[in-house]
Structures are given as C-alpha cells and as structure tokens.
Symmetry: C2
Subunit: 420 residues, 2 copies
C-alpha cells in the first residue's frame, strides 16, 4: 500500500483525495497496489472539506511521518513550498507537485536534490493535459525545434469572446472574474506571467535551458482592442496569448505575448478556456496536445497519474528528463535579438504628410512594411495599422519609442507579434 500526504487541501487537493477514494477500483488495478491518502495539511482546521483524512496545520507533520511514502504539494507559492518540498526529499519521500511558480524558480535545484527519488509535476503545466509526459518521455527521440502553447485558459477565454462576440477587454475581464475564471487581481494571468512559468518548465525539458521568469520576454493581452481584432479577421488571423520556445542555431528564444496566428494552424483552433501545446520535433514533425488547463478534477487527474506512476515504478525518471547537458552550447537568446513579424496600431493626426513621416521612420529603423491599413476616426484623427516583414525586436522597440514621442501620433503605438 502506498501512503500519501497532501499539503494543501483546497479544490485540487480535495479532488485528489476523492479520486483516490472513489476510483480505487481502476487505480489499484493500474498502480498494482492500493493508494491511500492518510493525512492532509490545511491553514484552517475549522473549515469542512468533506474528506475523511487526518488534518493538521503543519506541513512537517506529513514530512516527519515515517508512514508517508509520497508528499503531494498543493500549497502554492515559491519560498515556503521550496522549504517543504526540500525537506520531503531529504526524508527520502517521493514528491508530486502542481506548483508551476516553484518550478519556474527552483526546478534545477530540485532535480539535483531529488536524484533517484521520484519527483513528478505533470499538473504544473496545462492542467489535465499530459504534456510533461509527452514531451519528456513520448518525444525523447527528438531535438525539439519549437513549442507553441496556449497555456492560460483565462486569456484564451477572454480573447475567444473578444474575437467571436466583439466584446471589449474590460467587460470580458469583468465577466471572467464573475465566472471565477480570473482572479480579483488578474495580472498573473492577463499579464502573461502564469503562461511564462509553464513555458520555462517545458523549455527545460526540451532544451535544458536554465532561465528565470525575469530573463524572458513576458507580455500580456491588456492592450488588445476591437481595432486589432478587425485587422486580424481581415487577414485571416486569430489573436492568442502564445508561449513560444524556439531554437535557431545554438540559441533558444523564450517568450510569452499576444500573437496573431493564422486561422489554419491547429493551435489557432483552440478556443475558450481550453489549453493546447504544439511541439515540433526534428523527427516526428508537429504533434499537438489539447485539453482543459485548469479545474479541480482535471488538475487532480494529472496529480493522481503521477502518483500511479510512482506506485508502478518506484524510482523516478530524471525529473527534467535528462542527466547530462542536452545540446552543447545552447543558450538563451537575448530579448532584443528576437526576430518576428510585427503588427503596430497607432492613432495619428489625419493631415497631409503623416503617413509619409511614419513610413520614413520604418525605413530608418530597417523595418520593412508588408501591409498598411488606414482607417478614418472622428475629429481629424486616423488609425494606422501596419504589419511588417521579419524585423529585429530592438528595432521595433526603438521605433515604438520614437513614434510615441512624435507630435502627430496621439498615443503610444500598440504592438502584437505575428507568428508565421
């Protein structure tokens, strides 16, 4: 019998306890032994969680319990969770976690600490989709060329509604908050940080790249308007918050931002709260994984799968899927050097010479224009929309600064990258 302690018995923790109890038939058959949750840790002992396990307030009660084989960490946060997980590994206990922030900061130290002890984290990326499983084990024969993911359900829900129903950003954010899809402070989701944490985990498995959130390009979706959506529709794009890891030469670029994606791409077809991850390997080509990225039962499905795997196999795979450096000399590409196509929107004065001045600036920054659209607004103003050919990030950032300062530009230009 495998004995489990759950640190953090909230929505996901309760689902884990319930699945292991209610689906004991199939889980015992698949794991080859019974799996039982013995105890849990909560902040508030007075709240009824409807689960029939021993509860305490101190994580060390589970860590120090010699009966416990597997510690399931669902407390969230970075620093305290790291202390707890580290203590569990030091006691030789297997660990399962759903904590993406912990891994975004400490995954390499944790791989080192875990050694042969099983340390699993399927639920930390894309909820119920077994993407860690696929990338680490299923695609291990491949040099990974790129990973492109829709890994934040809140953003995808909002963008889908904005595209399909013509709703503006603020009302749809209000709705998402009312439905519980977005937090009271939505920055972590709509600012791209949640997706970036997940990207860092996948990039480690694919490339062995060690980067922290502050090292990579992270932008959100809060500047998207119906003007952008009209442009997207006209040119057969959808707008998605995309996480991108892509290798070129010996450099890997990592970035999370709103992106114009061609309609016909499989990843463009992922709508609403659903998540999806497209992975291109040098041997397999493109594979794509789709499913629910959040929710108590979907996330618990991934946590329990990790526990079953530990029951079956005892010791772990190498946590990140490799024991030696994966590809020699591979390094993180500087944010400034990222090459992309770009879309820029700006409000300008509607008077002679403006378009000429703007296009001259593009030429001076070595940015070649692919498409221009000008739309009249009220009060002698016009909206200018540009799509560029491939350009270098630092040139785009510098033209945005210059345009923002120009007298005939009414507001700082808004930019979306185009994935081609």
């Amino acid at each position: 019998m495998l004995k489990i302690g759950v640190i953090g018995v909230g929505t996901v923790g309760t689902s884990v306890v319930n699945i292991l109890k209610n689906s004991a038939d199939i889980i015992t058959a698949r794991a080859g032994q019974e799996i039982v949750v013995v105890s849990g840790v909560v902040n508030n002992l007075n709240k009824d969680r409807g689960v029939d396990i021993k509860l305490s307030k101190d994580p060390m009660d589970i860590i120090n319990d010699p009966e416990i084989d597997v510690v399931v960490e669902l407390m969230g946060g970075v620093d305290e969770a790291f202390v707890v997980v580290k203590a569990a590994l030091e006691k030789g206990k297997a660990v399962v976690t759903a904590n993406k922030a912990l891994l975004a900061y400490h995954r390499y130290e944790l791989q080192e600490l875990a050694g042969d002890i099983a340390f699993e984290y399927e639920a930390s990326v894309a909820g119920g989709i077994p993407i860690i499983n696929a990338l680490r084990d299923g695609l291990s024969a491949n040099h990974i060329e790129s990973i492109k993911g829709i890994m934040n359900g809140t953003c995808n829900y909002m963008l889908t509604k904005m595209m399909k129903e013509g709703v503006d950003y603020q009302p749809i954010l209000d709705e998402a908050q009312a439905l519980g899809y977005a937090e009271a402070d939505p920055t972590f989701d709509v600012g791209g940080f949640d997706a970036a944490h997940k990207l860092l985990i996948l990039a480690s498995i694919a490339y062995g790249i060690d980067a922290k959130p502050e090292d990579i390009l992270i932008e959100g979706i809060d500047n998207i308007t119906q003007d952008d959506i009209a442009f997207a529709k006209e040119f057969d794009y959808v707008i998605k918050l995309l996480t991108i890891a892509e290798k070129s030469g010996n450099e890997v670029e990592l970035r999370t931002h709103a992106t114009l994606v061609k309609n016909e791409e499989m990843i463009a077809k992922i709508d609403g709260v659903m998540n999806g991850v497209s992975v291109v390997g040098d041997m397999v080509g493109e594979t794509l994984y789709y499913g629910p990225g959040a929710g108590g039962n979907a996330t618990a499905s991934a946590v329990v799968a990790n526990i079953v795997d530990i029951a079956r196999r005892g010791k772990g795979s190498p946590m990140l899927g490799f024991t030696k450096p994966l590809e020699k000399g591979l390094k993180l590409k500087s944010k400034d050097e990222i090459v992309s196509k770009y879309y820029l929107r700006m409000g300008v004065e509607d008077k002679p010479g403006v378009l000429s001045s703007v296009t001259k600036m593009f030429a001076e920054h070595e940015i070649s224009i692919e498409t221009v659209l000008q739309r009249p607004c009220d009060n002698g103003a016009a909206t200018l929309l540009f799509a560029t050919h491939e350009a270098v990030e630092k040139n785009i950032q510098s033209i945005i600064k210059e345009l923002a300062a120009a007298s005939f530009v009414h507001s700082k230009p808004s930019m979306i990258r185009i994935e081609s």
Copy 2:
C-alpha cells in the same frame, strides 16, 4: 550501454538506426546511458540500406545473441512476429514493437509472457503521437468514457480531398496510391481494418476489454460519394473514418466506420494525412492528441522513445497498464445493439407514393426521421437522403435489407453513422 537488435530494417528500421546514431547526444543525455544498434535482420542481404550494423537473415541470430538487451520488432505480420517476440521475451529481452496486427490478436498473451520485462509498443497506434503514453500513464486516474480517433492517414487524406476539392472516391484513391499513401491493395486501409487494429489496442488500455478484429464492427469509406459530401456540408458535418470506443453502463462498444462529425468538434478539424485521438475521461474531461500517424521518422520517433524509456527505467510498466481487471463486469456490446444516429442515401423512382412507402418502412422499424432531403436526378429517378434520430443498429440493418429489395429503390441504400 544498452544494445539493440532490429528485426526488419525497412523504412522505419532504418530511421531507428539513424536516429540512435545521429541524435546520440540528446538520447544519451535523456536515457542516462549510450544506446547502440548492434545488429539487424533483413530478408534480402544484398540490398544496401545505408546503415552501419551487422545484418543477418535469421531473427534467432538476434534473439540468441547474449549481448542484445532490447529486441525491436519491425517485421510486421502476425504469426511469425508472435513466434519471434515470444522467443525474445523467453530469453528475458525487452521488446519494442510497432506491430499493430500482432497486438490486435496477441496483446493479452504478450502481457502475460512479458511479466516484469519491458514490452513497449507506442508506434503501433497513431505513429508519432505518444497516445499509448498518454492513455496508459497520463490519464491513469480516469474511468475512460470514450475514445474517438482518426487513426488512418490514408482515409483521412482521401476524405479531406473529397470534401475540400470535390474529387470522387476512385480518382483520389488512384492519387493516394501514386503518392505512396495507399497500398496497391488498399483494403486494409480503406476498409477500416488498420484503424480497427489500433482501436483494439487502445480499448484494452482503457477498459481491459479483450476483443479480436472479427468481434467488432468494421466498415470503410469506399461507399462515400459527392452526394454524401453535399449533405454533410449542408448540415455542418465533415465525414471522417472514426474509430470509436464508448462505455455505457457495463458495456463497451467498439467500432470503426465512416462517420458524420459536427464541424465544431476538435476531431473534425484534423485534416489530410494527420491523425488525432480524442479521449474523454471522467475526471479530466476531453483531451486530444494530434500528429503524424505514419512515416519512417515519425514512427521511429515513437520506437526510440520506448527504447529511451527502457534505458531509464529497466523493467516495464504493466504492458497494457493494469494488473487486475479494470472495471468489474465490463463486456463488449453486441454489434446489433449499438445505438447511433444514421444517415441513409438511396436512389428511388421519382413517382407518386414512393416517399410515403419509404417513410412507412422507417416507422415500422421504429426509426424516427430527423431530416429528409429529396433531390431530382435524370431519367425519372430521385435521390433520397435521410438523417435519423437515435436508432438501434439491427433495425437499421433490417430496413436497409428491406429497402434494397423494394421495387422502387434502384440500388442498395448507402449508410453513414452520425456522431452526436
């Protein structure tokens, strides 16, 4: 160092040898040890395969070689492959196979024979998509409610072309054969048998159901015409060769046939030679896996992933993912009792009373009609198209027989099931 013998050095076998050699950097890092192909078995020793390994004609040369740790079976076929794989397991060698036909007939005996020895078969279903990995390991916390797959690239290529370019069945089959997507005798693909073999493997993992190809409903795509496609387009369907495993109560139905699928379903969006499998679990909801279902490198990607897994972990998971019966009393549903919505097309005489006679027959067979379309043809004939509400398979089979025999029906009615 892990030493490999490859039985069958054709397209996939050559790719396996080349990947293990050319990608040795990442594979050693991921596997934790070197993996080397030592020898291969081929039918014709005189053909140059461009690989630098010892070749012989007798599989037993590899089976009996004490140096070999893992036998990779890529010879195909059922009976001889079973003898070879069995002999390898008896020698205690791990086995990796891509042979779906072998597993469609012998998977339970092989699980029994393998015991603790690693026996892996990722490439046998959906080529490069790690669907065995996902279903057996990633979704192990779930009672599986349904599996719906597009698992034959030849059929999907043909149906996509027929839908998008208005081409008829025979010319597109000719083209597929010319492109090498279809065999000279295409029956195994277009008749649904290839997809059915794969379905049986997935159904074993999901339900522990033991069935052989001859026990389940298998139909192909050779009766599809542009009349059917026009109907599909009018009512927002696409036509796909779908493999379906679905649980209701204590029965599981297994079937492979041309199917009308609503446009908005993710599985409907999988076009061309690509494969996709949608799995619904009771906890996770729907997840979907998409990628190339065939091709030397894509298939080899799955074979090599299995080898890496064996290098990492030594002993196997239980081959089919369970050690005791999965769900008590679960049994295969009789083909006759399958419930579905149906679409029927028939050519009839264009004279008074025909529609009345046909609809009376539907009533007598307890089949309720949802949609009727009548289109005039030349020479006093008309095409009648019906879509039904849910009906029982045996009633449909019986009305088809009766309609075929009716004087006013010109040819045996053509039927497609509708997935709702």
